[in-house]
Symmetry: C2
Subunit: 344 residues, 2 copies
């Protein structure tokens, strides 16, 4: 039963990281003040790659810093080290073990770049490779599908942003455990929606801006746990082609809370439902958006947009968990997967 219990440990895990992560992240921020960087590079795979997507919006919007997602194969397959001297290079990995991610961070450190590891394994190869290490402090994660380490990765990135910005966000960060607790309260709704979707075998998952990361991670949880081919799209990219998939009854899942993306996603979803009769499921804190669909999962209100992805994934995790159960799958034992995947 590790998956469900780890999912429910997220408020405590966040609380721990808020206490233990601050000091090492303030040291990273001090280095960045001493030695400014022109851009950031994030090396990650799987769920951690979605933390990297969150970093794109977080550092872009809050620090005007362009963020590149490393293509680790450039190094691991083609043997070429991109020039990282003027970058902050962040490796993100629950296990800290995947050789391709470790390779990017080690190369960057050799080149003299500022390197940071976010990992749940303090003595891992990734932790050894990076100059700065922030342990995720999530406690052992035994379930194959990542839950609490994903939210811890996002929180560590948010805390880094906060340290760089001068630490004025401490009060709002401290509300996160409470918001996570609140988000866990929708389990009954998640279960009942999932039970009605047991026959689904494909869907699109939409998000935009900060919540694009949530759409990606939700889709991955669905693929790992439920056997549903869930293809994630930014709501903008979706219009550049994939919208052609939508036919009456086509399942569209959307992360569509209040904020800068709300208007554009609202008019997109309304069009898809009214004109093309898609079958919508919506995750939101906005009554107007929840009201678009009989399948709404409520997010806690009042969370600043830049922190909300840490919370909005939680109802999505509950939904994927219960959809797995509804489809007769064992969420503890997704086929063909081990907890640690080593790719080169």
């Amino acid at each position: 039963v590790s998956l469900r219990s780890e999912l429910f440990e997220q408020p405590q895990a966040a609380q721990r990281l808020l206490e233990t992560g601050r000091e090492p992240l303030v040291r990273v921020a001090a280095r960045l003040a001493d030695r400014p960087v022109d851009f950031a590079v994030v090396a990650a795979r799987g769920s951690s790659d979605h933390a990297a997507i969150y970093a794109q919006y977080l550092f872009g919007v809050r620090h005007r810093l362009p963020v590149a997602l490393a293509a680790p194969s450039v190094l691991s397959l083609y043997g070429v080290e991109p020039r990282f001297e003027r970058a902050l290079v962040i490796g993100i990995s629950q296990s800290g073990a995947s050789p391709d991610v470790v390779g990017v961070v080690a190369a960057a450190r050799r080149q003299g770049a500022t390197t940071l590891a976010l990992t749940n394994e303090d003595a891992s190869a990734l932790a050894l490779a990076a100059e700065f290490v922030v342990p995720l402090a999530a406690g052992p994660e035994r379930a194959i599908a990542a839950t609490k380490t994903y939210t811890a990765e996002l929180l560590a990135l948010a805390m880094l942003s906060s340290a760089v910005a001068g630490d004025g966000d401490r009060q709002v960060l401290e509300q996160l455990p409470g918001w996570l607790e609140q988000a866990l309260g929708v389990e009954d709704d998640a279960r009942s929606i999932a039970e009605r979707q047991a026959g689904m075998d494909r869907c699109i998952v939409l998000g935009r801006g900060f919540e694009y990361a949530t759409a990606r991670e939700w889709a991955l949880k669905l693929k790992e746990l439920t056997g549903v081919v869930a293809d994630p799209y930014s709501a903008a990219d979706f219009l550049h082609g994939p919208v052609a998939l939508v036919e009456p009854g086509f399942p569209l899942l959307a992360v569509a809370p209040s904020g800068a993306a709300a208007d554009s996603i609202w008019s997109l979803l309304r069009g898809l439902q009214d004109e093309h009769r898609a079958e919508l499921m919506v995750l939101s804190d906005e009554p107007a958006l929840l009201g678009l669909s009989g399948r709404g999962l409520r997010l806690p209100g009042g969370i600043p947009e830049w922190l909300r992805p840490i919370v909005s994934i939680v109802p999505a995790q509950l939904h994927a968990y219960h959809l797995a159960v509804a489809r007769g799958r064992d969420p503890e034992a997704p086929p063909h997967l081990a907890k640690v995947t080593l790719t080169r």
Copy 2:
């Protein structure tokens, strides 16, 4: 009948761009020699975003240059301009019209960054926004699904790489029209494979390294034209979760030619087929890889790996076209799409 005829125009379009694109790209290369950059940023949507992924591997492997895919929403939704001063910022768009892509390039130019537009519309907003413009010279593209403009975008990027490297690749570049012609020769095989797949409604498309862009673009063509939910993955990321989808008979399409990624993708595909009885379709120039499956589409041999994505998408385009026909869809009129999509 524009789609099929535009698809078959690709050798001529490439020939034209080889002639007209060289001079403007040599000017871009001269600027980059004068004023070196630390990284590149590419702003694009839809098919053009897959040209951006090609650029990640191309500039990474050949020039050690990290490449970030712009998240245009950082500017268009959140109103923040990332700092682009030390970047080469490339906007890629067939129509040159999408406001979010134009916005990134315009911001970069205001900041004094080197900006380049690759577009098929010489007088478009994107062409006006960028300091350097390379017209794709593909001729009017009327079909909604991009074909010849996609290969032209890739070729323009390859020619930029070649100009930066000092132009020693001219002979090999000049072989591209012939290779494109050869790739078009597999139409009968593409049709016969597609006819056997008419009942498919979901699949995974795999690629790795340089061919990850091809996997992404193939999946998009399938979504636009055939109604199949085709979810693309790098073969490495696929192992970090989505492999759990595979059950007996699950359709896996793979771009798996010779080169640096061949060994890892070969052992992955063999495992998926032997142990998990996936239903493979393989695009390759390697007999061993083609032999993995009764559904092999042959790529021309002898193409250098960095240029091959320009050619390897062609059999995939033919496959998507014929799968649309086999599924009773009109490839000229995908639902809900217009040729030009404007996103903000």
